[in-house]
Amino acid sequence: MDGTLIIFWAFAALAGFSGLACITRRSPVASALWLVVTLFSLAALFVLLDAQFIAVLQVLVYAGAIMVLFLFVIMLLNLGRGGPTDLKGPLGLGLGVFLAGLLLVQLLVLRQTGTAAGGPARAALEQGMIAAVARPLFTAYLVPFEITSILLLAAIVGAVVLAKRNL
């Protein structure tokens, strides 16, 4: 248990550091690559939380597909270098840091008060495996699952219509 906690905090620190680097790097390409590091360390955290299937999906879908799409658009628009003044001015900076800090304090206070999660953790083997996730997906959550496919179809058509120069 102690070793698990050490590994957890190591990957959590990596996620926090790379998230910070992602929002502070000037070049969008560097931002995107730091975000990939964040997504990978989140996948490691998912494994530690007994969600192996979600961790695989995280690497395949997020770090694989979505971030490639981001990098593709960045390089298509030739934004690799990034302008000199991407961050906002001192007023915006102070206000942004204040609001984000306020939100962070609220979230941490909420975490202190409201985490009365019931019951001990299930056995690791019955969770996270593909069958345990897939069975409710095709029974109890069948309708949302099908609606998701329609959403993806609509997104594909919408992206083509928006990005094509003239249909």
Binding site: A12, L49, P144, L151, A163
Partner: protein, 98 residues
């Protein structure tokens, strides 16, 4: 248990995402910060799923699908905006500003 630490990490990452959205001007970077916030929410879902059953992981699945759709449409919008204004700097995209 890892629930408490996971929720802490989730809150920190969400606040980082909000900070990025508030600080940056590049539309694509802001978009990536939104993805960071979605991932923070996913981490909270997975942490609760460890204790309360597998439904949380199924919600993460749906969040990922919505994020993929959002990335495709959002990047197409950014492409279309860039084609008209030749910038993705949100300071220069102020058509709706009075």
């Amino acid at each position: 248990m890892l629930l408490g630490p996971a929720l802490t990490v989730s809150g920190v990452l969400f606040a980082l995402g909000v900070l990025g959205v508030l600080l940056r001007r590049n539309a694509i970077v802001i978009f990536m910060c939104v993805e960071l916030m979605l991932n923070a929410a996913n981490l909270a879902f997975v942490a609760f799923a460890q204790q309360l059953g597998v439904a949380g992981q199924i919600f993460v699945f749906f969040v990922m699908a919505v994020a993929a759709a959002e990335a495709a449409v959002g990047l197409a919008i950014i492409l279309a905006v860039y084609r008209h204004r030749h910038t993705v700097d949100l300071q220069n995209i102020d058509l709706l500003k009075g």
